[in-house]
């Protein structure tokens, strides 16, 4: 259904040209990502930063759901934890902003592993429900009195947004965007390598045939736990970046809807895809906005209809669509070759 985990069955024209074409696409994407913030308004730069943040969070969810086969409706909880850890290390420990995402990632890795360890006993929909519980509980836990000195309670905490070190050249919004972009590139490269290595293969094996995987000596519990930890780490880093670009955090910033949006974005991009997350992220950030333009009366209804339409046209997400189009083109080429010979 999706192109990433298994190599395309018909490697049209051999491996090398495809890689070259792939890097061409990547280069174009990167160029747009680098030039983009300098040609649009500050608000759009803010939105683009938000898209990058969501893309990282979706990547985290994809690693968990798409690759290891564990459905999570609770990644919003790790998004919240990441955000709060970032705020706490900046306001309480006085660390610089660039230290916040890695620390948030580390804390979330621990939290995710702990949760994942207990959750390995749960399968499929039961796991989805358990994680959903996590997402529902988090905002209320954040409001607890005992944590108020850390979390700021109901009222939240305002942070000073990091400023650009080269103010004349790059403004604050653009600087934050570039910072998010750099973190995102690093995380995408790590994910790309991970799913192609030993861990990735083990995860895919787990997802497709857990019994066969266990027979082959893959430690099911350990890999499921790692998948949870890594997923939480990605989501936590996204949470930290999210609070940097917003400049404010409060429990109300993390309604259960956040987790559902993550799932929506993840499926729309292609659940076992790395680059599909960019599309998914753009969808959840920009479509509600466009829906509002299309209809003042019921923007959510428009969003819902667009979502359903997308699912009908490309049930495998954007990555699935690209894969099937490419496969069809390849088949066409082969047929033409046969006809010629």
């Amino acid at each position: 259904m999706t192109a990433v985990s298994v190599a395309s069955p018909i490697a049209a024209g051999g491996g090398r040209p495809r890689i070259r074409r792939g890097s061409l696409w990547l280069g174009a994407l990167l160029a747009i990502a680098l030039v983009g913030p300098f040609v649009v308004s500050g608000y759009r730069v803010f939105q683009l930063s938000q898209v990058i943040v969501y893309a990282i969070a979706l990547l985290g969810l994809n690693l968990l759901t798409g690759f290891s086969g564990q459905i999570s409706l609770g990644n919003g909880a790790f998004y919240a934890i990441g955000g709060y850890v970032a705020v706490i290390v900046m306001t309480k420990a006085g660390l610089p902003y660039w230290a916040a995402p890695p620390i948030a990632g580390a804390v979330c890795f621990l939290a995710g592993s702990l949760f994942g360890r207990t959750a390995t006993r749960l399968e499929g929909l039961y796991l989805a429900l358990a994680t959903f519980g996590l997402a529902t509980a988090t905002p209320q836990i954040l409001k607890l009195d005992a944590l108020e000195s850390w979390t700021g309670g109901n009222q939240g905490i305002v942070i000073t947004k990091p400023g650009s070190p080269v103010t004349g050249l790059i403004n604050d919004d653009q600087w934050l965007y570039l910072f998010c972009l750099a973190v995102a590139i690093a995380l995408f490269v790590i994910a790309w390598n991970m799913v192609r290595g030993r861990t990735g293969r083990a995860l895919v094996a787990l997802r497709d045939h857990p019994i066969a995987a266990a027979t082959m000596g893959i430690d099911v519990a350990a890999y499921k736990t790692i998948a949870f930890g890594v997923s939480a780490m990605y989501t936590g880093v996204a949470g930290a970046l999210g609070v940097l670009i917003t400049g404010f955090i409060s429990p109300d910033s993390f309604p259960t809807l956040v987790s559902i949006q993550f799932l929506v974005g993840s499926v729309l991009g292609g659940i076992a895809s790395i680059f599909g997350t960019l599309f998914g992220a753009a969808f959840i950030e920009l479509v509600p906005d466009l829906a509002k333009k299309a209809s003042d009366a019921a923007p959510q209804a428009v969003f819902g209809v667009v979502l359903i339409a997308c699912m009908m046209v490309m049930p495998g997400g954007l990555a699935g669509l690209v894969y099937s189009v490419r496969a069809r083109l390849a088949r066409g080429t082969i047929r033409r070759h046969r006809a010629e010979s």
């Binding site: 259904m1 305002v158 955090i249 109300d252 499926v267 009366a297």
Partner: protein
């Protein structure tokens, strides 16, 4: 079906379900994010760099962020009312020849969305200022941005004390009396009318509840320890406040201040009644809605409840022929026909929008952001038809609290009946 397909199919089905959910939610809420008038005319303002963004010879463009969906969507009425009020003003010819376009965006009561909306309004739509954005957290989230940029953040729809801080946030100003002001008024009432009272306080353990305690401290001064016998708190997450009420009754109080949100307000009314306790029951102004608090608690059990009000009660039969309320009802009928005119939120919208119009009128032709803020802080004895006649609006460079007076009202079984004199907080 292999396990992998199961995961993918389930995820797809959940996503479809989410899509259906969004459609249904929209159907249930059926809230229209109001948008007054057309939103074109961007270029002309941008061309002249010295002019205030959003202000042209014929238009003043302003923005707000409102919870039209989500947990606080009942307050969406305020946004709709604001938009409707400016429509009325525009129909009457606008302000000094300029029409007001209020762009009101939905934030679902999520602070991140409020930030996004505000940036969109300021940077993309180019509004002159922000007006009546709702919610303490949402306004906290946008306050720094607006103050850094020098954009008026006016008549914030939240009762937190922190909006009256001209020294640190000279661009932000609230409108309604703060919770602290309200508590001060209860304190003054007790000192003047019932100096021998033994007061118990039930408060929500957050900034909202603690503002009431601070107000009591302000108002009672050195008599605080004499009058306040016992305080008890609860968490928003608590299921009930029954045990707190029992312990307060045991302290032997003859007056009770309930500084709670609506759900807990209803619970305390009921528990106080069930215990056969008959204190002078002072109830926080946010928890006196007849439909959502008093009816669920029982109207007979609510009789005798006292609260402080600064707006007229649209349900009060004594105001059926009140000229001020008639002016309001005429507006409600003509411009907000889809909203229940007895909804106090619409009265609020009418009052706050009228204050905004007064400020803009006072600005004359100098619609610079500085002057808009200067005029907002320059209201003197301004009265609006929806407050009791003795209550007026006053602001100055150092006083960012438009209201500092309220009047007590007692519930008589059908509506709140005002009694006594207007009480000033200062």
């Amino acid at each position: 079906m292999s396990k992998r397909n199961w995961v993918v199919t389930t995820a797809q089905r959940l996503t479809m379900l989410a899509g259906v959910g969004f459609v249904l939610m929209a159907g249930c809420e059926n809230k229209k994010a109001g948008q007054g008038g057309a939103t074109a005319s961007g270029g002309s303002a941008a061309a002249d760099k010295t002019a205030t963004p959003g202000v042209t010879a014929t238009e003043i463009k302003i923005g707000q962020s409102m919870p039209y969906s989500g947990p606080a969507s009942a307050y969406g009425v305020i946004g709709k009312g604001d938009v409707a009020y400016f429509k009325m003003i525009n129909d009457k010819g606008g302000i000094n020849g300029r029409k007001v376009t209020l762009i009101s965006l939905d934030d679902a009561y999520v602070p991140v969305k409020a930030v996004e909306n505000t940036r969109k309004l300021v940077e993309d739509e180019g509004v002159a200022f922000m007006f009546n954005t709702l919610g303490t957290a949402n306004n906290t989230a946008i306050q720094k941005y607006l103050n850094d940029k020098g954009i008026p953040h006016l008549f914030i729809a939240s009762g937190a004390e922190k909006w009256a801080d001209p020294a640190n946030h000279p661009w932000s100003m609230g409108w309604q009396p703060s919770y602290r002001t309200e508590a001060k008024i209860y304190a003054h009432y007790l000192v003047q009318e019932k100096p021998a009272a033994k007061l118990c306080v039930l408060f929500q353990n957050d900034d909202f509840g603690k503002d009431y305690l601070a107000g009591l401290h302000d108002g009672l001064g050195d008599q605080y320890d004499k009058i306040v016998v016992k305080t008890a708190s609860y968490e928003v997450t608590d299921p009930t406040v029954d045990s707190q009420i029992v312990s307060l009754q045991a302290a032997g109080c003859d007056a009770l201040l309930t500084a709670t949100t609506p759900k807990f307000g209803a619970q305390s009314i009921r528990k106080v009644f069930d215990l056969g306790w008959k204190p002078l029951h002072l109830m926080s102004n946010v928890s006196v809605s007849i439909t959502s608090v008093l009816k669920p608690a029982g109207l007979d059990k609510s009789t005798g409840l006292v609260t402080a009000a600064y707006l007229k009660d649209p349900n009060d039969p004594n105001l059926a022929n009140d000229p001020g309320m008639n002016e309001y009802r005429e507006f409600a009928k003509k411009y907000a026909a889809d909203i229940d005119p007895n909804d106090a939120n619409l009265v609020y919208a009418f009052g706050v929008s009228m204050t905004m119009v007064k400020v803009l009128t006072q600005c004359g032709n100098d619609l610079s952001r500085e002057n808009i803020m200067r005029q907002a802080a320059n209201l003197s004895k301004f009265t609006i038809p929806v407050t009791p006649p003795e209550i007026d609006i006053n602001t100055s460079k150092t006083d960012f609290r438009p209201f500092s007076q309220m009047r007590l009202a007692r519930f008589n079984g059908t509506n709140f009946e005002p009694f006594g004199q207007v009480i000033a907080a200062d």
